[in-house]
Amino acid sequence: METKNIMIVGVGGQGSLLASKILGHLLLSQGYDVKVSEVHGMSQRGGSVVTYVRYGDKVYSPVIDKGEADFIVSFEILEAARWLEFLKKDGQIVTNTQQIDPMPVITGAAEYPADLAKKIKDAGAKIDAIDCLSVAKEAGSAKAVNIVLLGRLSHYFDIPEEAWMASLEANVPAKFLEMNKKAFELGKHSA
């Protein structure tokens, strides 16, 4: 199978590392060769962060380049727009609609663009935009935005739900498992 590419983008501190860990574990369990490339250090401090997940028969490069992403999973709508160039033709965006002002917007040096979900759609990209923060709160924690997004992403994959659950169980602390399972289910069926 040709290598498939999933980008996870967001704001440092939103939990994208856990999302990539769960995805990597899942795809390995499905018999694929997998590479996951993460960001550590300086850029984690509230900056724009990106994680690359690649899988297939044999994966070489650890990173995803412009025009290559089959999926962009975005924790924040401005970040979906920022990384749009990386989406493959006919690729799918799954995004949280939440807006987090970056420092140039806070200081007044720049403006947060309006109606980004619509503009992304108008640019020709397929976008599935969900208010994940509300869904996560419904599940029991504002921090479960990452799992809500994974739940929604699972909708596009032909991988049995048990395999997703097994990966959740392997990577989420036991005391948060039930809440995260709920977040996953709510995410999967939100639209």
Partner: protein, 578 residues
């Protein structure tokens, strides 16, 4: 699951696994992105003694001592850390080792978290120490074990070179068993006492060893040829190899170098003879390329590929004239999202005070380097670990009273222990009326919360020795030592004014633990009372990511705010409420 069977593993964790399997008994490191996780992961094995040393030089010398005593040892650092440890490295090349000793250096092409983009291969060449370079996690594990065998066989320390993309990528590995070789310590003055008479005899040994290692490089499996036609041949290593295979698959011939110092001669000449066009694809400097050229071979490299920044598959595809597709775009300008100090960061109040006092601030390496970005824009210089204090002394010697009254150095607790103390010794000894501010957040923050000699805990989180900063500074001859709480703006302002005014050296310790530390208890998030808020934006001058404006009034992000209360001290209308 953890220890057996195929699993995804971070490159740095795979190195740690390799250290475990190689029977390493002693590890001493100083944290630095992208090398930190190697030592953190190794510390999870009870069989390995691991520690954070005050700096890389101390770490490497400690590891050397452990090798001398007869157990396999290791230290890890980022590229600039190897500059600090270059002194022991270059002479360890002469002494060689007793038990195997391996030194990991992690480069950062693209400068994701670094102050320069230096190429560590020069250290291997200059110190005449062999260097091997894994291209994924599986190789990281295997090469780590191999490095110890090479170290003992050739009587040399061995460098493992990582880069961000190998260190921080997960790929599939299959862990194995641990075996611990043991060696006896034997007194050997001619080998281990590097005074001129002895060192003079060791230098020819180093030269002979390099030739033996080169012969090893000619024939060892660590350098691999993949034949894929006779037209194009590419010599490459590390992550560049992955990009080449991503672009070309099996359609070109590839010589993948796992050992980048010393470089083979016959192997390269034979490979070149098999192809019509020869290329070198390597990140940063043209080291392999210059070697190939020195063999009289025609080769292309940096004519078509950049020296600056990291590579990617598209970059290589374009360089070879292949078309790449690009994705979608929105018309709007997308505002940047640079890293910022976290909500509740204790550094914020201190930097705000320095800005209010129009201080010239010489900075150092750590989270607080973010004091240079808007809206605080306060730090005016950052060079390397410890330079804030040493440079302040020089700045004030030249500037005299005029700069002494408004210039400060800021340096973190860990960076102060690393190499700030010697700069302060210079101030105490050669006397400038300098004001040094130690930003003591009780942890090494930037690299992800490592303990250090001032925190009272070791790498495993167990109680350890604790250096008292006030007592240390006083013992060095600085009489004026003040401690402030950076959440208290009035106190910071008063003490900074007082210490800048006095005509003697002084140290201010700005003490408050990092807001992200788990043991730190926070007040609940603040709320903006929209009745009282007049939208003056006074609170926004501190650049807190939890504060933004909606419809002319302040909004506090409840998921970020920790209720530190710095903003409330700026609001004249009492609008920010706990």
């Amino acid at each position: 699951m953890e220890n057996t069977g195929k699993q995804l593993m971070l490159g740095n964790k795979a190195i740690a696994r390799g250290l475990y399997e190689a029977g390493v008994c002693f590890i001493s490191s100083y944290p630095g992105t992208p090398s930190t996780e190697v030592t953190e992961e190794a510390a999870k094995y009870d069989e390995i003694y691991c520690e954070w040393a005050p700096n890389e030089k101390v770490a490497m010398e400690a590891a050397f001592g452990a090798s001398l005593a007869g157990r396999r040892s290791f230290c890890a650092q980022k590229h600039v850390g190897l500059n600090v440890a270059a002194d022991p490295l270059y002479t360890m090349s002469y002494t060689g080792v007793n038990a195997g000793m391996v030194v990991l250096v992690a480069d950062d092409p693209g400068m994701h978290s670094s102050q320069n983009e230096q190429d560590s291969r020069y250290h291997a060449i200059a110190s005449k120490v062999p260097m091997i370079e894994p291209a994924d996690s599986e190789e990281a594990l295997e090469y780590t074990k191999l490095a110890f065998d090479i170290s003992e066989k050739f009587d040399t320390p061995v460098l493992i070179k990582m880069c961000t993309r190998v260190a921080h990528s997960q790929s599939v590995v299959e862990p194995g068993e641990r075996k611990v070789p043991e060696f006896d310590y034997e007194k050997n003055i001619a080998k281990y006492v590097m005074m001129p008479g002895n060192a003079k005899k060791r230098h020819p040994f180093v030269e002979e060893r390099t030739e033996k290692l080169r012969e090893y490089a000619e024939t060892s499996d660590i350098n691999k040829v993949f034949l894929g036609g006779t037209k194009i041949g590419i010599i490459t290593s590390s992550t560049s190899y992955q990009y080449v295979r991503e672009v070309f698959g099996d359609s070109v011939s590839v010589l993948k170098l796992g050992m980048v110092n010393p470089l083979p001669v016959r192997l390269i000449k034979d490979f070149a003879a098999k192809v019509e066009e020869l290329y070198v694809v390597e990140e940063l400097d043209p080291i392999i390329e210059n070697h190939v050229k020195s063999l009289g071979l025609e080769v292309q490299g940096k004519e078509m590929l950049p020296i600056c920044d990291e590579f990617s598959q598209n970059l290589i595809a374009k360089a070879f004239g292949k078309e790449v597709t690009e994705g979608y775009k929105v018309e709007d300008a997308i505002p940047g999202r640079p890293p910022v100090m976290c909500a509740g960061c204790p550094h914020r109040g201190l930097f705000f005070t320095l800005k209010q006092n129009k201080c010239t601030v010489l900075g150092d390496i750590g989270c607080y380097t973010l004091g240079a970005v808007p809206p605080l824009s306060t730090i005016e210089m950052t060079l390397c670990m410890g330079a804030s204090i040493s440079a302040l002394h020089g700045f004030n010697k030249v500037g005299g009273e005029e700069t002494e009254k408004k210039t400060v150095a800021v340096i973190g607790d860990s960076t102060f222990m690393h190499s700030g103390m010697t700069g302060l010794a210079n101030i105490a000894y050669n006397q400038t009326n300098s004001t040094v501010i130690i930003l003591d957040n009780s942890i090494t923050g930037m690299t992800g919360h490592q303990q250090n000699p001032t925190t009272g805990y070791n790498i495993k989180g167990d109680p350890a020795g604790k250096i008292d900063l006030e007592a240390l500074v006083k013992a060095m001859g600085i009489e004026r030592v003040r401690v402030v709480d950076p959440y208290n703006l009035e106190e910071c302002d008063r003490v900074i004014k007082e210490e800048l005014a006095v005509s003697e050296p002084s140290v201010i310790i700005s003490r408050r633990p990092c807001a992200l530390l788990k043991y730190v208890k926070h007040n609940g998030p603040l709320k903006c009372n929209r009745e009282k808020c007049v939208g003056c934006k006074s609170c926004m001058r501190i650049g807190c990511p939890a504060i933004s404006m909606k419809d002319g009034k302040v909004v506090i992000d409840e998921t970020l705010c920790v209720g530190c209360g710095v903003c409330t001290q700026l609001c004249k209308f009492g609008a920010l409420e706990g």
